[in-house]
């Protein structure tokens, strides 16, 4: 895609969002929106600014980020290992792959009662739910990605003498990386949703606690302010982390312009 049209698209997008926010602001200003239920963007911004001065606000964000980091890392490590194990051992493929597929679609919030009974109300419970909410998506996608590696790569590597561990590390894994990345991205969005969901249900934790506070106090601007934080983290990870890696891979493989 020519650079110019990328710029134009960015310009168009920002124009759209700025005018939508502007309209919202004007409507709120004109008193056309119920302030208690839908506070003006300026008020939400004000609440954010105010909270940014509070240590407890940053502690809440920090503790949520710690839990997602722990939960997601475990999911990635375990998911990749499970995906490879399924490929490597036929018996596992035949028995576990359908179970994993089902668990991937299983509503992760259903793990909350299990977690509470096993671990009690603590970090471990939240992390457990996050892991179980995302690990199966990563495992299934990894397994698919490896199974879809074009056989010609394996044949070519074999005639050059590659086998065993070397074949996995140097050929199968890198050949599968573009599709594995898709699984990691899916797993991330599952993990993040599950974290916020379980923090709200279990309460007293991180961003979930802030939601609770806003709700109890009937402070809709706080609720929206926390939403802004949740959205910001989603965007940051999606575009800042995954987007970057994806661009790098597409560039290297020459996949630009093919989707």
């Amino acid at each position: 895609m020519p650079k110019n049209s990328v710029h134009n698209r960015l310009l168009f997008q920002s124009l759209f969002y700025v005018s939508a926010l502007g309209l919202w602001q004007v409507l709120a200003f004109a008193g056309l929106l119920p302030e208690k239920l839908l506070p003006a963007p300026s008020r939400i911004l004000g609440t954010l600014a105010f909270n940014a001065g509070l240590k407890s606000f940053w502690m809440a964000i920090g503790s949520s980020l710690m839990r997602i980091a722990a939960g997601y890392s475990i999911s990635v490590a375990a998911g990749l290992a499970m995906g490879f194990a399924l490929y490597r051992f036929r018996a596992l493929q035949e028995t576990l792959s359908s179970l994993f597929l089902a668990l991937q679609a299983f509503p992760s919030i259903c793990w909350v009662p299990v977690a509470l009974l096993w671990f009690g109300v603590n970090d471990a419970a939240v992390i457990f739910v996050v892991v179980f909410g995302s690990v199966f998506a990563i495992a299934v996608a990894t397994n698919q990605a490896i199974r879809n590696v074009p056989p010609i790569y394996l044949r070519a590597a074999a005639t050059m003498g590659s086998r065993g561990w070397h074949l996995y590390r140097e050929i199968i894994f890198p050949a599968a990386v573009p599709n594995i990345l898709y699984g990691l991205k899916l797993g991330w969005s599952y993990a993040w949703r599950t974290l916020i969901g379980s923090e709200i249900i279990i309460a007293g934790f991180g961003l979930g606690r802030l939601f609770q506070e806003g709700q109890k106090a009937g402070d809709m601007s706080l609720v929206f302010a926390v939403n802004v934080i949740v959205l910001a983290v989603s965007l940051l990870v999606d575009f800042g982390v995954f987007g970057r890696i994806e661009r790098e891979i597409r560039h290297r493989w020459g996949l630009e312009g093919s989707g």
Partner: protein, 267 residues
Amino acid sequence: MNPAGSTSSSVLALRDVSKNFSTRRGELNAVTDIRFDVREGEFVCVVGPSGCGKSTVLNLIAGLDRPDGGSILLDGRPVDGPGPDRVVVFQEGALFPWMTVSENVGYGLKVQKVPAEELDQRVEKVLRLVHLDRFASSYIHELSGGMRQRVAIARGLVLQPRILLMDEPFNALDTQTRDLLIEELRAIHSEIRNTVLFVTHNVREAVYLADRVILISFRPGSVRNIFKIALPRPRDPDNPELEAIVRGIVGELHEEVEKAVAKEFGP
């Protein structure tokens, strides 16, 4: 010659090799009683109608597949699985897109744990041989089709295989590029005198390159005839003698193609 018909200098020997595939329409006897030798430094071409089992034979030699009967000997020892002494150059799409040109070419050496310094030297040398030294750090998608096949050839040559197996490596190329690569392949062979088994369906190409041309019959695939090409090198593609040999082989090939058409489309 010993009773099996092989000479002491034969690198590769196929003895009554056969291979069946089970398909939905039943058992398919793809090749049968395949028997030929390839000697040290020889350039041997295999021609035959499409579907006669050329790739099947090549895969058996490469060890990517196992024969159902007969034996395949490399330097007198039975072939057991794939290995770097019998590298295959495939038709297309076998280069690794996540590696640069030099990483692709160095991969086989890395598998063999060749020290980094020696690896770099050998990769550089072979890239110069195929005129790609300027593209060492390019990714595969940045190369033209002809350049990609040169990488594929370099990737095979760098391992100094006992025999280089090539399965219609220039099929996906336009005629001009194809002619260029054939010329390069000829020049490389005359320089390093490596042993090559080259599958093609282009008889002219085969006669231009080969010491011997093996014609495979259609279903079951079997050696129908072996033509010795005694013309001096470098050969002139317009030489009437070469023309005559090509015509002779094409005549026999057409009989096999007609058999193939009758079997595929007949009653």
